[in-house]
């Protein structure tokens, strides 16, 4: 069956250039990391879309779950003092 199998799944992240971070593009099937990189280039970067590609075995990714979304992100939601708008500046002073 190995010959006809679709091979493991890899997630593809492409860095578009400039100072931008890698961004998820999609996934590819490949027999190993090297082939995953080549497939990722052929599938997701046919028009110079990137300057760097990461491929990661899909199974190696740990993601937060949608069910926990509320409580998981809660600590960041109730702290307005982490934003610049929270602080007062005397009138006429340019920051």
């Amino acid at each position: 069956m190995a010959e006809d199998s679709q091979w493991p799944l890899w997630e593809v992240f492409i860095q578009p250039g400039g100072a931008a971070p890698h961004e998820h593009a999609g996934s590819v099937h490949a027999v190993d990391a090297e082939q995953a990189l080549q497939n990722a280039r052929d599938v997701y970067a046919r028009r110079g879309e990137g300057i760097n590609i990461w491929v990661v075995p899909t199974a190696a990714i740990t993601a937060s779950t949608p069910e926990d979304m509320g409580p998981f992100f809660e600590p960041g939601n109730d702290k307005p003092y982490r934003h610049p708008q929270f602080y007062k500046v005397p009138r006429g002073v340019k920051m």
């Binding site: 010959e3 590819v28 190993d32 779950t65």
Partner: protein, 324 residues
């Protein structure tokens, strides 16, 4: 795969989740792979997305037929790049479908054994070089109208694949229209060739949008769930309105004696579509249904050695790494 489970009787819990899901759709939120979704939403998406992916893959065949016979190197490079894009588009959508818990292998098997559907347009033959122009202009043009709508679909991975595809497909349409423009403005024989291609591809292109709204069983549900944002007839009309002036601009005639501009609606009204032909081709009796499947199976079988070699190579490298 979740979708093989029979839909169990609705529990109060299911009812609540369903209501929450529909509220999310109503708020215009995007549904992501790990979010809870009704089983039917998942199954309908697998059906729609896999048919779409198969269409991209089978869509390579009518055009691949002309790569070696393209009239100039410029045309050949353009066509090669376009056909390669179609392979990429098929892979984007297979990858999106896999996020719903189905394996690509399973989908490919369904395509190869003839149980999967794909767009009927690809069951028509490409008889002359002008057909390559007509496909880029009309078939990709129709696909862009449809896919621009799907780029706002409620399912995130599908929408994202459509955004990527739409960006690339404008080139497909323009390369097709350039071919048609050149032929239409060429010798009388070339002009006739362009007109003949338009005559043969016009009606099948209009059928690409699917049956009229009243005869489209899946439309209502897909619209309710925000997968489709416009109806088959609305999209078809948009395509017609765009295309009529393009045909005029290059001196070709739309093969519809009943076509009239409707001042009241500002739309081009068309004559009746031959739905008997549509259903005949959908059900497997189009001019090239068998040929397409045979070509796909042949290509898959002939790629066997590549898959075997890649597996063997990877195996060997793994052995070396472990030994080191």
């Amino acid at each position: 795969m979740d979708s093989t489970k029979a839909t169990a009787a609705q529990t109060p819990e299911d009812g609540k989740r369903n209501a929450e899901f529909e509220a999310r759709i109503a708020r215009g939120e995007t549904i992501e792979p790990k979010d809870w979704m009704p089983d039917r939403y998942r199954r309908q998406l697998v059906r729609m997305m896999s048919q779409h992916a198969h269409s991209e893959i089978v869509g390579m065949l009518p055009e691949g037929n002309w790569i070696t016979r393209a009239p100039t190197l410029r045309r050949k490079m353009g066509l090669l790049a376009k056909v390669q894009d179609e392979a990429g588009h098929g892979l984007y959508i297979y990858c999106g479908t896999e996020t719903l818990g189905v394996d690509r292998e399973e989908l490919v098997t369904q395509l190869l054994n003839g149980t999967a559907k794909y767009s009927s347009i690809f069951n028509y033959p490409t008889l002359t070089w002008a057909d390559i122009g007509a496909i880029g202009w009309l078939v990709d043009g129709a696909a862009i109208v449809n896919q621009t709508m799907l780029a706002k679909a409620s399912y995130g991975p599908y929408a994202r694949a459509m955004i990527r595809i739409c960006k690339e497909e404008n080139f497909h349409k323009k390369q097709g229209f350039e071919i048609m423009t050149t032929l239409a403005g060429g010798t009388p024989a070339q002009h006739r060739m362009a007109q003949d291609a338009l005559d043969r591809w016009w009606w099948p292109s209009l059928m690409m949008f699917g049956p009229h709204d009243k005869d489209s069983p899946n439309s209502e549900e897909m619209t309710k769930w925000g997968v489709k944002r416009k109806s088959n007839d609305e999209l078809r009309q948009r395509f017609i309105n765009l295309t009529v002036s393009q045909a005029k601009a290059i001196g070709l005639e739309i093969p519809d004696p009943q076509m009239r501009f409707n001042e009241a609606t500002q739309n081009w009204d068309i004559g009746p579509i031959d739905w008997d032909e549509f259903w005949r081709v959908v059900k497997g009796d189009g001019p090239c249904n068998r040929e397409r499947l045979a070509a796909r199976n042949k290509a898959h079988a002939e790629g066997e050695w590549v898959r075997v070699a890649a597996s063997a190579h990877a195996e060997k490298r793994r052995g070396k790494t472990e030994a080191a």
